[in-house]
């Protein structure tokens, strides 16, 4: 140290001083950066690191059941096997193997490829659902072949099932996968991609009750997405920062007013026909016991996978299986509408029930001839309804005018949706003078045609049923009721729905009794239009209708695409009405030929199997003998 040589060889100490300053500055820089990351942005990165390992798995809520009025299940859930693919481990070979195992079509393969190809980065480790609800046979094949299928797994989940098949298909509706637009629109309601959502019928309208609330489970995963289950519960909670599991709340069950047996009876009665619809209403409450549109699509097929070809076939089917013909379709009511001018005439006292008109089979107004089915001879209001005389009602229509008829029609609920609440009810149409003035095409003829349910009058099957139920029960027009109760899975009643009266008709009880009497004789008097189709002892009161299809002169044979639609609107038992039944057979020809027999079948089975206590003969055996008083022909 003291040797001059040693001192001479030493670099000046200040050199190391500056080196030390540089080192110090560099360390200060590092410390400053750490301060920035850990102190200034620490909370931000803490959340980021938590996002890394906390994975939220949805716990899907069980969808509520749809039950009939006696608690029998119409819509249920069953396990379904869904195929998932983890893109990171999914190879060309396993794709080929999957296609071979499941016999996938080109369309399916393309959508599968698209689902897998869209994933990048960490998303490639996440499972993607590629096929839902494969059959048990396919499941067995996939499981036995799992070694050749890297990246493919099968998971069980709940799938909607309609145990009665097509029964009440339009009422129940169906479900399918939520679309991207719906997903963004309903984000707050907690929908996830791949969820199913009610598409029509009760499934759609009562979605919010049936659906329940999904829960979630937050789990800790490592960088490869593997779930860490060996962590202690307390450590897990501290990592996740809250409860790990939120239990799902199952959806509520819907107890409907539908009676499974009655629905089946109705559908069996419609089955022989190409295209038909019917409604059965409890006249005392407006509850819908059965509502059927034939043919019906299978909701199980619609809820599962339907190929494009199958869907196209359903849409192209001339019998329109996807349309609910009870509420969604307008029809000319034909002669079933004659109760409207009849009631309007009585209410307004413009028609004397005893006044007789002679029907020669046709009548001339202006330069046009208006036809009847046959010359009826002298008829009064009662007989005109019984025999369905057009000539008489042309006169009534002429006397009342369009607007007076429209008033009563609206009073009976026509021209506005009845309020069933599903499947987008159409309002029908009741023409007024105002309408024709705006159209600029008013002719006297439209008034006459309106009186016999042609012209521009349009009604729905359900409207007609509600109107006839109101005539049957003495003038109370109800809102059709389909849902009776909403019940939690544990049996607690969430909401109980009461029958809702829409209005009390303007007609007096006596006037309605006159109509009922005429409707009774229309079935039970030898000259009545439905006499030939009656079943003795059922005491049905009802009116046939034959609605022209298009503007043709030639009468086509029943079943032809141009044949008239056949109607029968009715209630029974005539003296103490319990149910109203309306049947429409598209292209069925004369009402009495196809619609009335179908309705009679419904009554016969209903009073024999569903409600024997309500059957007319049941009361007969109780000692109330004699024909119903209100049904005496005048």
């Amino acid at each position: 140290m003291t040797s001059p040589r040693a001192r001479g060889t030493q670099a000046p100490p200040r050199r190391f001083f500056w080196a030390q300053v540089v080192v110090g500055a560099a360390f200060f820089l590092l410390a400053a950066r750490l301060w920035q990351l850990q102190v200034l942005s620490g909370d931000h990165y803490f959340r980021k690191s938590a996002d890394n390992f906390v994975k939220e798995l949805p716990l899907l809520a069980t969808r509520g059941q749809i039950l009939d009025r006696k608690g029998r299940v119409l819509a249920d859930n069953r396990p379904s096997y869904d195929v998932y693919v983890t893109p990171r481990f999914f190879t060309e070979d396993s794709l080929a193997e999957l296609v071979r195992d499941l016999h996938l079509e080109v369309e399916g393969v393309e959508s599968l490829k698209a689902k897998v190809a869209g994933k990048h980065g960490l998303d490639r480790f996440r499972q993607v659902e590629v096929l839902s609800d494969v059959s048990r046979d396919d499941l067995a094949i996939l499981e036995s072949d799992s070694l050749a299928l890297p990246g493919v797994s099968v998971t069980a989940s709940a799938h909607r099932e309609y145990p009665e098949g097509t029964l009440a298909a339009h009422l129940l509706g169906y479900m399918n996968e939520i679309t991207a637009e719906e997903l963004s629109a309903h984000r707050e309601q907690g929908y996830h991609p791949g969820d199913f959502i009610g598409r029509s019928g009760l499934e759609r309208e009562w979605e919010s009750y049936l659906r329940g609330k999904d829960g979630s489970e937050r789990v800790v995963v490592d960088a490869k997405g593997r779930r860490k289950s060996d962590l202690e519960a307390s450590e897990l909670e501290s990592l996740i920062g809250g409860p790990a599991r939120i239990e799902p709340q199952p959806g509520d069950d819907l107890e409907t007013t539908i009676d499974l047996d009655t629905q089946r009876i109705v559908e069996n009665a419609l089955k022989p026909h190409h295209s038909a619809a019917a409604a059965v209403i409890d006249v005392e409450t407006g509850r819908v016991l059965a509502l059927a549109s034939w043919p019906e699509p299978d909701p199980n097929a619609l809820t599962g996978h339907l190929s494009r070809a199958e869907m196209a076939a359903l849409i192209a089917d001339p019998a329109r299986p996807l349309i609910d013909k009870t509420v969604r379709e307008n029809y000319f009511p034909g002669s079933t509408f004659k109760v409207v001018p009849a009631l309007a005439g009585l209410e307004s006292r413009m028609v004397d029930p005893d006044e007789r008109v002679i029907c020669h089979g046709a009548i001339q107004f202006g330069r046009r001839w208006f036809h009847c089915v046959e010359p009826h001879g002298p008829v009064n209001l009662h007989l005109a309804l019984v025999e369905s005389c057009n000539v008489f009602f042309y006169g009534v229509g002429d006397k009342l005018g369009l607007d007076r008829m429209a008033e009563t029609a609206r009073d009976l609920g026509f021209g506005a949706p009845p309020g069933l609440g599903i499947n987008g009810e159409v309002p029908g149409f009741i023409p007024t003078m105002d309408f024709y003035k705006r159209q600029g095409a008013f002719q006297k003829g439209v008034v006459l045609n309106t009186a016999i349910g042609q012209g521009s009058v349009k009604v729905t099957v359900l409207q007609l049923a509600m109107a006839y139920a109101a005539i049957a029960n003495g003038g109370r027009l109800y809102v059709p009721q389909l849902v009776d109760k909403i019940v939690t899975p544990s049996g607690q009643v969430v909401q109980e729905l009461e029958p809702r009266l829409r209005r009390v008709l303007a007609a007096t009880p006596d006037e309605l009794a006159q109509i009922r009497s005429a409707l009774f004789d229309a079935v039970n008097a030898p000259k009545g239009t439905s006499y030939a189709a009656r079943i003795p002892g059922l005491e049905v009161a009802g009116k046939t209708g034959t609605a022209q299809v298009g503007n043709h002169r030639v009468r086509e044979a029943a079943g032809s695409a141009l044949a008239d639609h056949a109607w029968f609107a009715s209630f029974a038992p005539a003296r103490h009405p319990k149910i109203a039944v309306v049947v429409l057979v598209e292209h069925g020809g004369f009402g009495a030929k196809s619609a009335t027999p179908a309705a009679m079948e419904i009554y016969r089975h209903y009073f024999a199997e569903v409600a024997p206590q309500d059957a007319p003969h049941a009361r007969l055996t109780e000692g109330r003998r004699g024909s119903p008083g209100a049904a005496q022909p005048r």
């Binding site: 140290m1 040693a6 001479g8 060889t9 030493q10 670099a11 100490p13 050199r15 190391f16 080196a19 030390q20 080192v23 110090g24 560099a26 360390f27 820089l29 590092l30 410390a31 950066r33 750490l34 301060w35 990351l37 850990q38 102190v39 942005s41 620490g42 909370d43 931000h44 990165y45 803490f46 980021k48 690191s49 938590a50 890394n52 390992f53 990048h120 980065g121 960490l122 800790v220 995963v221 490592d222 960088a223 490869k224 860490k228 450590e235 990592l239």
Partner: protein, 366 residues
């Protein structure tokens, strides 16, 4: 004997030893946590190395450094031969041939090359200072030659991190020896240009990608950028006091890449927080400043340059490793001295520390 021990106690550098022990202790605590999810045996393997290299450290400190001075070019030659050997017969791992099997053990000659360069440069610059003043370019040319040969061999492997460290050590040494300022500036400028050129032309595909993703991490959020991003999440999420030992989620759930070799600092930062980081940074800062103090007090020019070289080695390793983890420098494979897992890098650092101790013990000798 007693006398010699008493003398050793008086001359022994307790501050240097203390700093080393503190860092080793931190490293072992941290590595225990980092290797919990690693393949089995890493931790005991590291313990084994540390014990074995303690012997090497003691031996390096015990032998008079003038022996190293005499054998400087021979040691340098051995280093170069090993580098050539690894290129010819080394194991190829992940596209690089870095490992040389010597019987049961594998070593990375590029690690030892750092020491060879330090000793050779020290020998070169320990000559007559007047000669250095008169003919600076001769020395600069010789230094560049001594530096360039191993550098090219390492880049050939390729091992970007080690090449970078060798380059920086050489540059640092030339900045502190007695050369005129203008010479230094010219050398600095030339080396900077050469460095940039090499980085641009010699980089492997994955190295280029790493560099590009460092410049713009959004280029590839799940590939090369993913590692860097996860390391930053780990560091940042440690906040003030950390998540606690063995409770770092980024670490335990394996979101950190290669975290026992290149990213142990991320584990430390996550589990011990900013305060823990300050402690570790403080230890390193003290160690490096102390190394420069030893250099300043060294008896001769050779010892002085060796100490500066060793300090430079420690400094650049620490600066690049932590800078890389903290996201201010690109991801290059540079280990954290005494904390990273790995036998070869640990051996290099232990020998460097042994050299420092050697010089420190002998600063008042003769």
């Amino acid at each position: 004997m007693i006398n010699e021990l008493r003398k050793l106690r008086a001359q022994f550098d307790w501050f240097l030893a203390g700093a080393i022990l503190a860092i080793v202790a931190i490293g072992l605590v941290n590595l225990y946590s980092a290797t919990r999810v690693a393949p089995h045996g890493r931790y005991t393997q590291q313990l084994g190395w540390e014990s074995a290299w303690l012997v090497v450290f003691t031996a390096t400190a015990a032998v008079d450094y003038r022996a190293f001075e005499r054998l400087a070019y021979a040691l340098y030659g051995v280093g170069v031969v090993l580098l050539v050997a690894v290129l010819v017969g080394g194991k190829v791992v992940k596209g690089s041939s870095r490992w040389l099997s010597l019987g049961p053990v594998s070593i990375q000659p590029s690690e030892l090359a750092k020491l060879a360069v330090i000793i050779a440069l020290a020998k070169l610059f320990s000559g007559d200072p007047m000669d250095l003043q008169l003919r600076p370019w001769r020395y600069v040319a010789a230094a560049l030659g001594l530096l360039g040969l191993p550098l090219l061999l390492v880049m050939k492997q390729p091992d970007l991190g080690t090449a970078l460290i060798i380059f920086l050590i050489g540059m640092t040494v030339m900045m502190v020896v007695s050369l005129e300022l203008h010479v230094k500036l010219l050398v600095l400028g030339g080396e900077a240009i050469a460095g940039v050129a090499m980085v641009l032309f010699k980089l492997h595909g994955y190295q280029k990608k790493r560099l590009m993703t460092f410049l713009d991490p959004s280029l590839d959020p799940s590939g090369a950028g993913w590692h860097a991003r996860q390391a930053i999440f780990a560091v940042g999420s440690g906040r003030w006091t950390g998540k606690g030992w063995l409770h770092g989620t980024q670490n335990q759930l394996q979101f950190l890449p290669e975290h026992w070799t290149d990213f142990p600092f991320a584990v430390w930062a996550e589990e011990w927080g900013f305060l823990g980081c300050l402690i570790l940074l403080g230890c390193y800062l003290f160690l490096i400043l102390w190394a420069l103090n030893i250099a300043a007090e060294a008896r001769d020019r050779f010892a002085q340059v060796v100490c500066v070289g060793c300090a430079a080695l420690l400094f650049w390793h620490v600066f690049f490793n932590i800078g890389m983890v903290a996201g201010i420098l690109p991801v290059v494979g540079v280990t954290l001295p005494l904390v990273s897992y790995g036998g070869s890098s640990l051996l290099t650092v232990m020998i460097a520390l042994g050299l420092l101790m050697n010089v420190s013990i002998r600063r008042y000798a003769y």
